[in-house]
């Protein structure tokens, strides 16, 4: 296999940037939503749960289209965000938004499982020892769910790296701007003689996905160990 061309490198680098941003921005929100869904009883809980999982079930094209009609430059939300210099349409930021939304359900599911594995009785015990709710979360819940958070983040990162349908619908396929790995593979396959370049990117995709899955597996196995106190 020969080295990557600048165009291919651009796609890999952009994908990494998009996936990193998508994961790191959605992680705090994901922890909050996962904790809320696992621990709080409130009206509309099922609705929130449904909304979070929607991108997992909808065709990605539909999610991309919904993003376009919500965050497009001519929409009220798009214009309002534009006042602060935040533009999603046809930018890498839009690719990150699409990737983040598509990866969100996977992240929330992993974190929620680990929150549910934490015995609320431990949190009660911490409260009787003088810890406020915030301190209980920071010193007891958070350390115990850390493996779940890492697993969720890894899964989300891998999903964001590979996101295609919603991204291409929302922000198109502009080299250097919104052309991520899968979009680049798609583009190479459209031109004669592009198979070799596509194949190189396919190998990279497989390596990233496998690496992420194995990492996530190892991390989630640590949950059980940690909660058992070994």
């Amino acid at each position: 296999m020969t080295a990557l061309s600048p165009e291919e490198w651009q796609a890999v680098a952009l994908s990494l940037r998009v996936a990193l941003w998508a994961t790191s921005v959605s992680l705090p929100i994901g922890i909050f939503v996962a904790y809320g869904l696992a621990r709080w009883e409130f009206p509309g809980r099922q609705l929130i749960n449904g909304l979070v999982h929607l991108p997992l079930i909808l065709p990605p094209v539909v999610t991309g289209y919904l993003l376009l009609i919500s965050f497009g430059p001519t929409t009220p939300v798009g214009q309002w965000l534009g006042q602060f210099g935040i533009v999603f349409a046809f930018r890498w930021t839009g690719a990150a938004l699409a990737a983040g939304v598509m990866a969100f359900p996977l992240m929330v599911r992993a974190i929620r499982l680990s929150v549910e594995a934490v015995d609320p009785k431990l949190e009660e015990a911490a409260a009787t020892l003088g810890a406020s709710r915030l301190w209980v979360f920071l010193t007891i819940t958070l350390p115990l769910i850390l493996p779940g958070i890492l697993a969720g983040a890894v899964l989300a990162f891998a999903k964001a790296m590979g996101e295609f349908g919603a991204t291409i619908t929302f922000v198109s396929n502009i080299p250097g701007q919104t052309q991520t790995l899968p979009s680049a593979i798609y583009a190479f396959l459209q031109i004669p003689g592009g198979e070799t370049a596509a194949l190189r990117l396919v190998v990279i995709s497989i390596a990233v996905a496998m690496g992420a899955l194995i990492l996530s597996e190892v991390l989630s196995r640590r949950i059980a160990k940690r909660v058992a106190g070994k």
């Binding site: 409260a127 009787t128 810890a131």
Partner: protein, 370 residues
């Protein structure tokens, strides 16, 4: 220091309606499962909000549904030892112990930490993780962790129930030591008669969500009208002093002038003890028996009698050693002609007094200190 509790709450089939005061020393909430014991301690800790109630610890109001006061658990200054220990699995023993200390408003001197670590024998466990500890070790750490948070009150909800007999025997002396060495009140939940007999300064007998009787342990446990854990678990408690050890393996005690013979105890002469005499191990005779193998014969006067629904009858006898409960059949009571005020003799085999029914010295509830 004392705790005043007044609670009304409904939880499934339980309708809780209690009022009591826990003075310094160990106050035991005693009753069958489902009597409302755990509900009470959870309400005191702030883990459960009762429908209606008022809880005050000395001059510190923890809960008053009338005026809308309800302090969250972390602001109540109440230590809690749970049945299952609830140690934090991701922290070492040392970190578990330090947890409550870190949130405590005024860090106590290092000497205090060392003393608690020493009383509970935690020195060798500090670097270990909860997953590597035995059940008894976990409970000792849990007790230390609760105490190091500098509570104004210690709650213990059946802290020995999850342990086997040997481990119980290992932990009970630590609670006895705490009762005699720390100034804060301890509210202790159990349905074990042996634990009540050994630990309680005050007993709150609970039946179906109500206080059946409250008062000093000796009085409540010697009352035939109150058998909160059932007639089988009834038994009075005597206070005695070790007189001497005999070479044939017996230890002689002096209980209010009456000699008591027990299988060899490890306490030195002069040590003050509590001895629980299970009611079903006591025989009654109307005259001092001759030619009998039992060594302990206590003369007394019948104070009260209560017939159960079955063939049994609970008789309390006032002896120079204190009240003794005897569980006999109604048939025997009738054929002996037992009545209130009659003189008779309680007979107890030495061998029938189990080692776990003998506890260490007890301090009487003194004037409250603030």
């Amino acid at each position: 220091m004392s705790l005043d509790v007044s609670l009304r709450h409904d939880l499934g089939a339980l309708h809780l309606d209690v009022d009591f005061t826990a003075p310094r020393g160990v106050t035991v909430l005693f009753g069958r499962s489902g009597a409302g014991k755990s509900t009470i301690v959870n309400a005191v800790a702030g883990l459960l909000r009762p429908r209606d109630g008022r809880i005050q610890l000395e001059d510190h109001l923890l809960l008053d549904t009338g005026s809308g006061v309800n302090l969250p658990p972390h602001r109540r200054g109440v230590g809690y030892v749970f049945q299952e220990g609830r140690l934090f699995p991701h922290l070492t023993v040392r970190q578990n112990l330090a947890y409550g200390r870190w949130f405590a408003t005024q860090r106590k001197a290092r000497a205090d930490y060392d003393r608690i670590v020493e009383i509970l024998g935690l020195g060798d466990l500090l670097t270990r993780r909860p997953g590597d500890l035995s059940g008894g070790e976990k409970q000792r750490v849990a007790i230390g962790r609760a105490l190091l948070a500098e509570p104004q009150l210690l709650l213990a909800d059946e802290p020995l129930a999850a342990l086997d007999e040997a481990r119980k025997g290992e932990i009970l002396p630590y609670f006895e030591a705490l009762r005699d060495e720390i100034a804060i009140p301890i509210l202790y939940v159990t349905h074990s008669a042996a634990e009540v007999a050994r630990l309680a300064t005050t007993v709150i007998a609970l039946q179906d969500g109500r206080v059946a009787r409250q008062g000093p342990a000796i009085e409540v446990l010697g009352d035939p009208m109150v058998t909160p854990a059932g007639a089988r678990a009834a038994g009075a408690v005597l206070e005695a002093v070790v007189s001497r050890h005999h070479i044939d393996g017996l230890t002689e005690l002096d209980a209010g002038g009456v000699p008591l013979f027990l299988p060899r105890l490890t306490r030195a002469p002069g040590a003050r003890l509590r001895v629980r005499i299970a009611a079903h191990e006591v025989m009654l005779a109307t005259s001092r028996p001759q030619g009998i193998s039992a060594l302990n014969i206590l003369p007394g006067t019948i104070e009260a009698m209560r017939a159960g629904t079955g063939p049994g009858m609970m008789v309390s006898l006032m002896t120079p050693a204190g009240p003794v409960l005897a569980r006999v059949t109604r048939r025997s009571a009738a054929s002996l002609g037992l009545t209130r005020g009659a003189d008779c003799f309680a007979i107890v085999k030495s061998i029938a007094i189990a080692p776990e029914d003998v506890g260490g010295q007890i301090t009487q509830p003194g004037p409250s200190q603030s």
